[in-house]
């Protein structure tokens, strides 16, 4: 297996060829905030939290969707990146209706964690209080669009791992919304296998089990990677 070496915040690391900058950063012991990225799913580079700066200048690079190359030198935590990350999280909070106090994911929410990590204690942008709805038509699960950050993890896990492609995105811009089937109530979509993978990977409380109430959601974001490894490399967790 060929290896590339690069520098992350001045520290040399070696990663297998084809690895992403995110993997390189982790190999260097650097944690980058992520929301849309999830091991085992195709990266989309949408949340912009894992942006890193090349020491040679140029555009900022989404670490999740950029392949590490020999001789690269990146910075993950410049003052500018910190500012941008905080603003990004503020934009997430301002565009939805995120009320931690009575959210099913309170305490186990990646958006909340990221807000803490970047030091966002309030949004400087006015909250938009969008009018969204809740789809509780599925017998086991529900989707609260107010809490959705459009990371598309549910779309990808359902398409790439479960192979059902129940979810997709409709509309555009700030009107974007996750839809089930052909924009039907989730419970009416026959393609749904009720596997719950979308609920497991949702970083917020948008997708949840109906039996869970405030702060009772415990997602399993590690599952797509486990399943992929099992299928592609025949490696099982209990081996």
């Amino acid at each position: 297996m060929s290896v590339v070496t690069l520098r992350v915040n001045g520290q040399e690391v070696a990663v297998p060829a084809g690895a992403s900058l995110l993997e390189a950063a982790r190999a260097a012991g650097v944690e980058l905030p992520t929301l849309c990225h999830l091991e085992g799913l195709t990266p989309v580079g949408a949340c912009r939290l894992c942006l890193v700066a090349s020491e040679t200048g140029g555009r900022l690079l989404p670490a999740c969707a950029t392949e590490a190359a020999e001789g690269m030198a990146i910075r993950t935590d410049t003052e500018e990146l910190q500012r941008y990350r905080r603003m990004t999280v503020e934009l997430f909070f301002a565009e939805g209706n995120h009320v931690c106090a009575f959210c099913v994911a309170n305490g186990d929410c990646e958006l909340q964690d990221v807000a803490v990590a970047v030091g966002m204690d309030h949004s400087r942008f006015p909250y938009r209080y969008p009018h969204r709805h809740v789809d509780a038509s599925h017998p086991l699960f529900a989707l609260d669009h107010h809490r959705c950050i459009l990371c598309t993890r549910c779309v990808r896990v359902c398409d790439e791992i479960e192979g059902a492609h129940v979810w997709d995105v409709a509309q555009r811009g700030s009107e974007c919304t996750i839809i089930a089937g052909l924009d039907e109530p989730w419970g009416a979509v026959e393609a749904c296998t009720s596997c719950g993978k979308c609920v497991d990977v949702c970083p917020t409380g948008a997708l949840f089990r109906k039996e869970d109430t405030t702060a009772e959601k415990h997602p399993h974001a590690e599952r797509p990677e486990q399943l992929r490894r099992a299928r592609e490399q025949q490696q099982w967790r209990n081996q």
């Binding site: 555009r59 603003m87 990004t88 942008f125 006015p126 909250y127 997709d168 811009g173 700030s174 974007c176």
Partner: protein, 555 residues
Amino acid sequence: MPVLQPETPSRQLRCCGASGCRSAGGEALLAALRTARDADAGAAAGLTIKPVGCLRLCGRGPLVACDGPEGTRLYGAVPPEHAADLLAAAREDGPDAGVARAALEPHRLDLDEPFFRLQRPVVLETCGQVDPESIDDAFAHGAYDQLRRVLAELTPKQVRDEVRRSGLRGRGGAGYPTGLKWDTVALQPPGPRTVVCNADEGDPGAFMDRSVLESDPHRLIEGMAIAAYAVGADHGYVYVRAEYPLAIERLRLALQQARRKGVLGRGIFDSEFSLAIEVRVGAGAYVCGEETALLLSIQGQRGMPRPRPPYPAQSGLWGAPTLINNVETFSAVPAILREGGDWYAAMGTEGSRGTKVFALSGAVRHTGLVEVPMGMPLRTVVEEMGGGVPDGSAVKAVQTGGPSGGCIPAEQLDTPVDYESLLSLGSMMGSGGMVVMGETTSMPVVARHFMRFSVNESCGKCVPCRAGTVQLAELLDRFVEHRAETADLERLEELCGMVRATSLCGLGQAAPNPVLSTLRWFRHEYEAALREPSHCEPPDSCTVGADGETRGYAP
């Protein structure tokens, strides 16, 4: 060759049938001319009435060019009642030619005006001469001659060398060197390749590509075919926006004719080269003009940009190396091959060779299409060719590059029009829309207009563009409505910087440009829009906007 004047003048009336003149009554005029001719069959014999493409001065449509041995006369804003006069004037030798000409005199347009005189038609060389719906007429004007020659005489590499030598850069806006892009696609590992023409021209105030498609579609097809040969592709797509129905109709007709005549299909001109071209129609999304989104849309998926690399030249349509150029870029290719890359490179400036088509509109006397050498001062285009603001007042600014570009202030009008100069002014070449603004235009309003455009057209994939543009538009509302605070100016600049640096695709990255450029050149207008401290309401009511919506900054 001067603009609009045919090489071999025969007695004919050329009627513009492009969208601009159609909307001004061009079809009624053409019908009236044909009726008048039929009613007067004997006298009008030998006179051709020919529907053609854009005759440039769109603002004075419907336009008719009257050719004869004595030269070409152009008439504008001609009502159908003048059809008989036009026929009589065109006949020259007829008894009432003089009377008819006198009647038409108020509609006469001077072809020696700078608007026409300073044009340098290359892409548009047969636009307005050739019947866009007739491949035989296109053949008569030299269409497909270069394709035939290239296939018989040149290797793909020789074609690419010629294009590289021409210095042609992408006319869609970013200005990537065309020859380099062709090489990148051609030199990918063996396998299928595709050529794609981006005809999703969506910038407000831009109608160059529409005019080419409506006026001379065979030129585009020939350019694409030469490109396909040069990079080794046997399949092509033209992605046209649905808002261009006439362009789509004429392109489809042209493709059908080209297939029938064997200039598309298998073994073109008895060579080994085969090419099929399909039309794909957009569905109203501006973002599909972004190349990665465009490719997804062709594949039948949701048009959303993806991070690059890999670039489409490496991995594009269905994973195959894909060459994407816009309409104007492909349409420049036949002339480059005919006259040579050095000929093309001799026009324009060091970094920006050749000519560029611009769509002039807004507060300008002469609205329409101009093709000029790169490097021409903006002032020449706007004030001499465009004739300045109609009421004679001063030009305040020129907007180039649409929602990705910026406003260039009047004091910078002596800047040469080329890629780098416009970038250094905080605007960009863009695809070629040029909107002239007079003294009465408010710059915060202009910035908000473009920001609202970006809000509506954001695909919603990445958060800086999806949510950042919404916040920017709201901040701009505060300036337009005179309720902004000093801190809003800082917020505006900070958020612009963030959206620019962190958005996923070029559209998001460029969305703040209209704000940043107006802030740079017209900052006083933003400052003047700040609410006077003495007018400030008590702190409680400050968080409620004019529409009663809460806009507080506290969580």
